[in-house]
């Protein structure tokens, strides 16, 4: 063969071979791509962080709720005022009533449908609740507010929205602006590509993509964001393959949930559902055309058209989308005009309930971490129903901030504090404030500031004594006198009272209500430290309790949350009801996954607990808590205890009514003397917090085995009503002294045979 011909033959054969190899490689590559696309799309699971919700607000006749609270709540929940409350998430005034259209939600009891209801509030109470059409409605709930999401390990966040739940106007605008031929093409649009190629040629570089929605989805899902030719070469076949295997609506729904629409610190905002909440504070379904147009406009560049940072540019872009939508027949001319006149109406970042309660979310996070692996929390879209009472939380934040501002004004403040509020019956944690600046995400003092509890320990000493009814009762005299307890290495513990005085022998009741250190110390030493420590354990203290005499006066260090745990059995009459921040966990479709039910375990002697509770009521009536008089309604019975640590470093108040308990701590982070005392710094906060929620009186009815007895001041003889120095005490039957002053009747009421006769004659 001639050389030339042979070279030609070889080159042709080589070319053919190369072509064949390329073809095979392409086919293999295509097959690989096909498998990749199908596999990844089929197995794609949305990374849906667990979402945390506050407890839904219950509405019912007689509920304590004033109109301003209700309006504050509706604002927080982004209800819009609209005549007749026609759609979910709207409200209006109607004479003396409010018309509300609730949004509805799922719960482990089935939840609530969206419904229109009429609410009448008179004199701070709900005076009427009915369906808007007049039907009876004994109880209704507003949907729970989302207060956070838990996304450990990654920073994507989204709220999944199904295509049939997406406003049709959004889809229409999206297609009009981004991909008019979406329902006609097969993944790529030659017209779009050639238009982009022309534009790029003119610009001398890659400026436009000409991508279809399918291509954009492929790019967002699997490819880098760079506009390179190689990426384009992969994007085209992948888009075609995607269209080959999946329905248009499937692709569209995935697109709507996948698109990136901004950044909230470390959290990436993905999907239209979350974007609606992030920018407008409302569900996607409630957005109006001008809102939807902004979201569609932002797809071109969420940073470039960020409505918070670049409102003018964002508005121009929104208006352009609106005009395109009108020209494509998506909206009418009239709607366009109205929409153009509207502001952007973007809510301030961090202004809503989402991420507004970091201290409480911290508690939820800790509880969840015990029960769920991080991967489940990050991706399964769990709905966490928490116990947060938004109104109580806001009131607690306000009370702490206001009181500390009065005591320590200015920017360079040193005083800080924490509040924990619970509903003891259910063990629900209603509010957690970890800083005087409640939005601060730093040190959570409510859970982590571990401080000496001061006199908050005293009820434990009294309770220990009262559990020995043959030896002690509240009238028993204890010595409020200087006491010296030898310690190791020759040291001596010699506590003093806050007023540096000693009162001599005083009833145990006064030792507690007047918070006398020497009396409590001598009583505690008489009882034995081990017995007091055992009581503290039964109250729920889990930390190591050193067997030093100073624990009697509260050298024991606890966090405000641990104090709430410790006071829980005192508030419930002797039952340990574990504090919970979560009631239910639901899966993505609203089906119950887990419940955290109310429980109660009897841990204290019922009668002794009642007596301790009663003594703590006297703290509020005539002891160190009496400064609160007038803050709460006079007919509400509450009990509590002040606490102040050495050097006025820590001020505490812990107390409860029949349905709420609150613990307040005030002090400094550097643990320096803060000049604060329980009665002057913590009590006012406690009073404001408790006054802000509906209260039920603490029961003063004695349980079986407790009688009311008039006692002489000597603490060893019964006396009678009207007798000199006689005081009435609740007393366990086993404690009632045999000796009497022979003055009057010793029992006050219906105890025993005499009471029976008296009832008869009355």
């Amino acid at each position: 063969m001639p050389k030339k011909a042979s070279a030609r033959f070889f080159s042709r054969s080589l070319l053919l071979k190369a072509f064949a190899v390329c073809l095979v490689l392409m086919l293999v590559g295509l097959a690989w791509l096909d498998a990749f696309v199908r596999n990844r799309f089929d197995s794609h699971q949305w990374q849906l962080p667990a979402r945390v919700f506050a407890r839904p607000v219950e509405l019912y006749n007689g509920q304590v709720l004033d109109s301003s609270q209700m309006e504050r709540l509706l604002n927080l929940m982004r209800y819009r005022q609209e005549a007749g409350a026609p759609t979910p998430g709207s409200w209006s005034r109607d004479g003396q009533s409010l018309l509300l259209h609730t949004r509805g939600f799922r719960d482990s009891d089935g939840g609530e449908p969206p419904r229109r209801l009429r609410l009448r509030i008179t004199d701070g109470r709900v005076a009427g609740l009915a369906q808007a059409d007049g039907g009876a409605l004994p109880v209704a709930r507003l949907e729970p507010m989302q207060i956070g999401s838990i996304h450990p390990g990654h920073s994507q966040d989204r709220i999944l929205v199904r295509l049939n739940e997406t406003p049709p106007a959004l889809v229409a605008m999206l297609l009009a602006v981004e991909d008019r031929a979406f329902y006609e093409h097969h993944g790529i649009s030659l017209r779009g590509l050639s238009r982009a190629a022309l534009a790029n040629l003119r610009a001398g570089g890659v400026r436009q993509g000409g991508s279809t929605l399918t291509q954009q989805l492929v790019k967002n899902f699997w490819l880098s964001r760079d506009r390179t030719l190689s990426r384009k070469l992969l994007e085209l076949p992948m888009a075609l393959l995607l269209e080959l295997h999946y329905e248009k609506n499937q692709i569209l729904e995935t697109y709507l949930n996948e698109v990136y629409l901004g950044q909230d610190g470390a959290r990436a905002i993905h999907g239209m559902g979350l974007a609606a909440q992030f920018y407008f504070g409302r569900p996607l379904q409630e957005l109006e055309p001008h809102h939807l147009a902004l979201l569609v406009g932002m797809l071109r560049g969420p940073g470039l058209y960020d409505p918070r940072r670049r409102p003018e540019r964002a508005r121009e872009r929104r208006d352009l989308v609106l005009r395109v939508a009108q020209s494509e027949g998506v909206i009418s001319e009239a709607v366009l005009e109205r929409a153009l006149a509207r502001d952007l109406e973007v809510v301030p970042r961090g202004g809503g309930a989402l991420y507004a309660f970091p201290a409480f979310i911290d508690l939820v996070r800790r509880q969840l971490a015990r029960d769920y692996p991080p991967a489940v929390l990050a991706s399964d879209g769990l709905h966490i129903h928490s116990t947060l009472d938004v109104l109580a939380q806001l009131a607690a934040e306000d009370a702490l901030a206001r009181t500390l501002e009065q005591r320590d004004p200015g920017a360079a403040h040193q005083l800080t504090g924490a509040v924990v509020m619970t509903a003891p019956d259910q063990g629900d944690v209603l509010a957690v404030v970890g800083d005087r600046r409640a939005r601060s995400t730093g040190f959570n003092r409510a859970l982590d500031a571990v401080r000496p509890i001061g006199s908050l320990a005293k009820p434990a000493v009294v309770l220990t004594a009262l559990e020995q009814p043959r030896r002690y009762h509240l009238a028993s005299l204890v010595k409020d006198e200087p006491i010296e307890v030898p310690l190791t290495r020759g040291q001596v513990w010699a506590p003093r009272n806050f007023d540096n005085e000693s009162m001599g022998e005083i009833p145990m009741l006064d030792a507690l209500s007047l918070s006398r250190n020497q009396a409590t110390a001598s009583l505690g030493m008489e009882l034995g430290l081990d017995k007091v420590i055992m009581t503290l354990r039964r109250l729920g203290v889990q930390r190591n309790i050193p067997a030093y005499p100073s624990i009697l006066l509260g050298s024991l260090e606890l966090s405000p949350f641990e104090v709430a745990v410790m006071y829980q059995p005192l508030a419930t009459g002797g039952f340990r009801t574990p504090l919970r921040s979560i009631t239910d966990v639901l899966d993505l479709s609203g089906e119950p996954v887990a419940r955290y039910p109310v429980s109660a375990e009897a841990v204290l002697d019922q009668e002794a607990t009642f007596l301790t509770q009663w003594a703590m009521i006297q703290v509020m009536r005539e002891g160190t808590g009496r400064g609160l008089l007038g803050v709460l309604p006079p007919d509400i019975t509450v009990a509590g205890k002040t606490g102040t640590s050495d050097g006025y470093r820590d001020a505490w108040f812990a107390g409860f009514s029949g349905n709420h308990m609150a613990v307040v701590w005030v002090g400094r982070d550097d643990n320096q003397p803060a000049g604060v005392a329980g009665s002057s710094a913590a009590l006012p906060v406690w009073g404001q917090v408790m006054a802000s929620v509906p209260q039920r009186s603490l029961r003063e009815t004695a349980p079986p085995g407790v009688e009311w007895v008039w006692m002489d001041a000597d603490g060893v003889r019964t006396s009678g009503e009207g007798c000199r120095d006689a005081r009435l005490y609740p007393m366990m039957t086993a404690s009632i002294p045999q000796q009497s002053t022979s003055c009057g009747e010793r029992r006050d009421n219906d105890g025993g045979v005499r009471g029976w006769f008296r009832r008869m004659f009355n």
């Binding site: 007689g62 009891d109 629900d428 039952f575 109310v598 109660a600 039920r696 000796q739 009497s740």
Partner: protein, 154 residues
């Protein structure tokens, strides 16, 4: 001193006894003691509708929903209603085969109970059943004794 106390009591007791006797001899029949009102949740209470919903949820074995309704009822309940709701919760836990939880809740219902011997006796029976299911025979017997004592009380 005990004697002195008893002596002080006797004259009045004797007088009362005499009056009782005279009362019995008079023509007017002695009215029987009025039965105590039932312990229940008031019909117009917000807790009542939730209690009814809890009942229907329990009837269809949806314990999770029943529990949620009862806890909601507890949070909106009026004074004096807690004893009914804790009792319902205790019975629910028993049905869920959680006798330990049921015992605690029944005792809690007792703590909130009014001075109503029959109601309290029923609650002690519930405690006895919960203890029995935990194999606590002594506790069960003591709870039953309490119930009996209350039923026999005048």
């Amino acid at each position: 001193m005990v004697q002195a106390h008893v002596q002080l009591m006797w004259p009045r007791a004797a007088l009362a006894g005499l009056l009782l006797l005279l009362g019995a001899c008079s023509v007017q029949p002695v009215a029987p003691p009025e039965p105590l009102p039932p312990v229940e949740v008031a019909e117009d209470s917000p807790a009542a509708s939730l209690l009814a919903l809890a009942d229907s949820a329990r009837a269809r074995n949806d314990f999770s929903a029943a529990g949620r309704y009862l806890e909601r009822a507890l949070s909106v309940s009026r004074s004096g209603e807690a004893t009914v709701l804790y009792r319902e919760l205790a019975e629910l836990r028993l049905a869920e085969n959680e006798p330990r939880a049921a015992e605690g809740l029944a005792l809690r219902a007792l703590r909130e109970a009014p001075d109503h011997p029959l109601w309290q006796a029923d609650l002690w029976d519930l405690v006895a059943e919960a203890r029995d299911r935990q194999g606590n025979d002594t506790g069960r017997d003591s709870a039953r004794d309490n119930a009996e004592r209350l039923r026999e009380a005048p």
